[in-house]
């Protein structure tokens, strides 16, 4: 169903944090730039919930990546001097092992037999993959959104495996609003009869996935951006027969994005990754956020947040930065005024690129 450019098979069975063993784990990844003989110029990128490892175009795959304007020669994450690795999350469906993968013990897809997935598992799989590529320590581990949570987990669990931590629009744990919006997304998928308890064929719960995606989009952008962008513009088309069909431009926008998403992401994988974001809590590592973040040994940290983000509000970024600063890390906190909310890191290049570029140049 999904293509992956490169795969690394992890050595031996993979033990999940909350129990359960995966006998075989593949991690899909892509790389850009050249690893120096000293193996000291690697940057590891973890992704948000839905993207795959294709962060940027390359000779092998010239299609634009999800972070095309950030990763490349002379760009903020400069592939002229850095060796950049982006991994597809464990539990995802873009090449890495996940609920849509075949369990070698049964010859059938895992589906809901996949064990409980945590952000720590995603980080551990990424870490193991990078080691398989012969890299013990990365210059920086970088992640936006769920990827930022994963980067934190990576830096906590493998303190010697990164010199710097870059979190973007992330959090140490999810607050009730964010828990609720994801819970409702999962409910939309699970109550779609086509979900069939996770045992679907083909695209499965299309209506549920469409609703989940639309809800996600609401929290990825900001009300202010939409107000300026859509106002009360009517959609170019309006089916008069459809009393409750699309009428406003904002509805057409949601529908367009939802249709693009459905069929490109496995619904069970979505459920597992969504819940992993809910249950992640730095405080589980030692009893408090402070104790958890104290495990991090990265000397440098860049914490970026956006004032219009209401999925992971800016004060959650300030919290990460303040704690790391108190613990003696060299911390740069960058609160940005981007209009586009949580997803600003995908679009507001003017604000994000200089901050990321200057940090990586300096460390």
């Amino acid at each position: 169903m999904y293509k992956a450019r490169k795969l690394v098979r992890l050595p031996g069975p993979f033990h999940m944090r909350h129990g359960g063993v995966l006998p075989e784990v593949d991690v899909a990844y892509e790389t850009w730039g050249t690893l120096r003989p000293a193996r000291d110029n690697a940057v590891l990128i973890f992704t948000g919930l839905s993207p795959g490892a294709h962060a940027a175009s390359s000779a092998e795959d010239p299609t634009p990546g999800w972070w095309e304007e950030v990763v490349g020669p002379g760009q903020a994450i400069d592939t002229d001097r850095l060796f950049v690795i982006c991994v597809n999350s464990l539990g995802s469906c873009h090449g890495s092992t996940g609920p849509a993968s075949v369990d070698p013990r049964t010859g059938k897809p895992y589906r809901l037999n996949f064990p409980c997935l945590t952000i720590e598992d995603v980080a551990a799989a990424g870490h193991a993959a990078v080691r398989e590529l012969g890299i013990e320590r990365v210059r920086a581990v970088v992640g936006p959104s769920m990827g930022g949570m994963t980067a934190i987990a990576y830096a906590m669990q493998h303190p010697d495996a990164c010199e710097a931590l870059v979190t973007i629009s992330a959090a140490c744990r999810s607050l009730p609003f964010s828990l609720a919006i994801r819970s409702i997304q999962r409910e939309a998928i699970r109550t779609d009869p086509e979900w069939n308890g996770g045992d679907y064929e083909g695209k499965g719960p299309v209506n549920g996935m469409r609703l989940a995606r639309k809800l996600g989009l609401m929290t990825y952008r900001s009300a202010k951006e939409w107000r300026e962008r859509f106002g009360r513009e009517r959609a170019g088309f309006h089916d008069e027969e459809q009393l409750f069909g699309i009428e406003f431009e904002v509805e057409a926008y949601l529908e367009m994005h939802a249709q693009k998403f459905v069929g490109t992401f496995d619904p069970n994988c979505y459920l597992y990754l969504s819940r992993a974001m809910d249950i992640f809590d730095v405080a589980e590592h030692g009893g408090s956020l402070e104790a958890g973040l104290a495990r991090i040994k990265a000397r440098h940290a860049l914490v970026i947040g956006v004032e219009t983000d209401f999925l992971f509000p800016i004060d959650q970024q300030a919290e990460i930065a303040q704690i790391l600063h108190k613990q003696g890390r060299d911390v740069k906190f960058a609160p940005l005024t981007s209009l586009q909310g949580h997803d600003s890191f995908l679009v507001d290049m003017e604000r994000f690129c200089p901050v990321i570029g200057e940090f990586l140049d300096r460390i």
Copy 2:
């Protein structure tokens, strides 16, 4: 399915703003206090999307109403001196004629044959009902949320029928965020197979209504309130068998409220009222918000908004107040710091009651 304390049958057929005729319209209402012989002490309340006319308890119905702490003897809307009428909206299912009512022409429920419903129709039905009760002019027309939109429509359409206008957490029109959240709610209902194109029996699309209610709740409160109230508390119960079941307290809260709602509100009525909020736009009355609001002749206006409201943000209340003020109305604008978001008018009595009470005492 739903009980109504009192009904008034409007005289003659009712012509809907966007076309279509209802041969018979009933409006359910309740009253508190005594109408003076001069008939000059009436206050008319329009409601939000889901409540019925039972705003407060009474001798006939001692169960607490949805605005129990606001309407009553010696309270902010003081029934010792005011005659208070609350009407159930046209298009609703709590006694007034709506999509769940029987079309006398066919002997079957209207369902989707109900004509397009607008906020202006709701206001017109309320106005006609009050006239049937022998009242030409009310002291004040009052409404929170959708009821505030309806109060604005009432004051625009029937300029001589009110001395004062009180809008609470309302707006002259919905912005894209608010359009989107309601559009997704309607989609959740419409894509539930049990909706069956509007032709369901019994409770109908239970899953869709549950999702819609949960989504509504997210926008009725504030992320800040939930953060203080729920944090990351686990629910008292957790079904281990249910991999994606309720885990956090905030999820249990949503589920509890959703279950209370399902079965008490007709899904088709929900769709019609929800869309009526989307398509309402004061600017349709004369070409601009200013032209629309200029039709209002009420001498006094009280405009209340809440800073944590992200369904109808506070600047939408400020807009109403500023325009009315420029047009020479005596306007009191009350931006409140309530924590509970859009629904603060239902819970933050400490802030709301004095503001409403002082205004009604003064005019």
